[in-house]
């Protein structure tokens, strides 16, 4: 079988007319890093599960994309992240929701799949599970970026003014 790895960095792209060459180059570079991380697994006969995990970890570390470091803020000014992983061999699956703390939420999802009898853990219970599993945690400041804070403030102003939601996809989805 010919191996194949496909990634996405989200559909909340910046409108073409607002994209700068520098940012576009940075986005392509970030995606190449993720592809390289996953392909390194496949090229040494590794599993699809490990390949997608490594690719997503790389994207979670990149503040250009909306997951992990660089995730958007909710209306209360907190970051809440979700992640899921599924193994096609046997439909094993794991997911976490409404968490902020684990550096790589995808590893939290994978821990749920591999170290519990459950499919989805959420909130404080999920965080306790992640700590018990020995996952790496980061302070909230690690996940925050100035660009995401600005997006939140703009959205708060829009709501305060009662203006219609005419945000583009980048502003909405991050």
């Amino acid at each position: 079988v010919s191996p194949m790895l496909v990634i996405h960095g989200g559909a909340g792209t910046i409108r073409r007319e607002n994209m700068t060459p520098e940012r576009e180059a940075a986005c392509h570079a970030g995606m190449r890093r993720a592809l390289s991380a996953g392909y390194a697994v496949l090229s040494r006969q590794g599993s699809a599960l490990d390949a997608v995990t490594e690719a997503v970890k790389a994207l979670e570390d990149d503040p250009l994309f909306n997951a992990g470091r660089g995730a958007v803020f909710n209306i209360d000014g907190h970051q809440e992240m979700d992640a899921a992983v599924m193994d096609g061999r046997d439909r094993r699956a794991g997911a976490v929701a409404n968490i902020c703390g684990p550096r790589h939420p995808v590893l939290a999802a994978r821990a749920v799949m591999e170290r519990s009898e459950h499919v989805l853990l959420a909130g404080d219970g999920a965080l306790r599970f992640c700590r018990d599993a020995g996952l790496e945690f980061c302070e909230p400041a690690w996940f925050a970026t100035e660009r995401r804070l600005q997006a939140l403030e703009e959205e708060r102003r829009r709501r305060s003014a009662g203006a219609p939601d005419e945000r583009d996809e980048e502003a909405r989805h991050g």
Partner: protein, 135 residues
């Protein structure tokens, strides 16, 4: 939202998705990502899927599993099933976004109906391909 799907040398499939959600979302709002079958899905018999976009609609239409079902029961190819779900199922109800998918033969599909979708792939030759808009 970020995600990855893969087919390995043994023909096994896997999917992973991770997200921060929507800017200014309600506290406690859970999108489609952790909903197995909606934003994330994998079964060796059919496909692996990771979705991005308007999460609530991906949940209501169980997007990942819908692609699986069309392949499993209707005999659709991966490309037909994935495109139909994005263009004919989700788009008419206002679902903006896209998804990535692979099958056990290493075929892939990357449909989206938003202006762009950050996306990329690499196959057996090791060449990295990335794109943002409809180039």
């Amino acid at each position: 939202t970020v995600g990855a799907v893969a087919c390995d040398h043994q023909g096994h499939l896997a999917a992973a998705t991770s997200t921060g959600g929507m800017t200014g979302k309600a506290s406690g709002r859970i999108g489609d990502t952790p909903m197995i079958g909606a934003g994330t899905w994998a079964d060796d018999a059919t496909c692996a899927v990771s979705a991005t976009g308007h999460g609530e609609l991906f949940m209501r239409y169980v997007a990942g599993h819908e692609i699986d079902a069309r392949m499993r029961w209707a005999g659709h190819t991966l490309e037909t099933a994935a495109n139909d779900v994005v263009e004919r199922l989700l788009a008419p109800v206002g679902g903006s976004g896209g998804l990535i998918a692979v099958d056990r033969a290493g075929n892939m599909a990357l449909p989206f109906n938003s202006e762009g979708m950050y996306r990329g792939y690499v196959g057996a030759d090791g060449r990295l391909h990335t794109a943002i808009y409809r180039e």
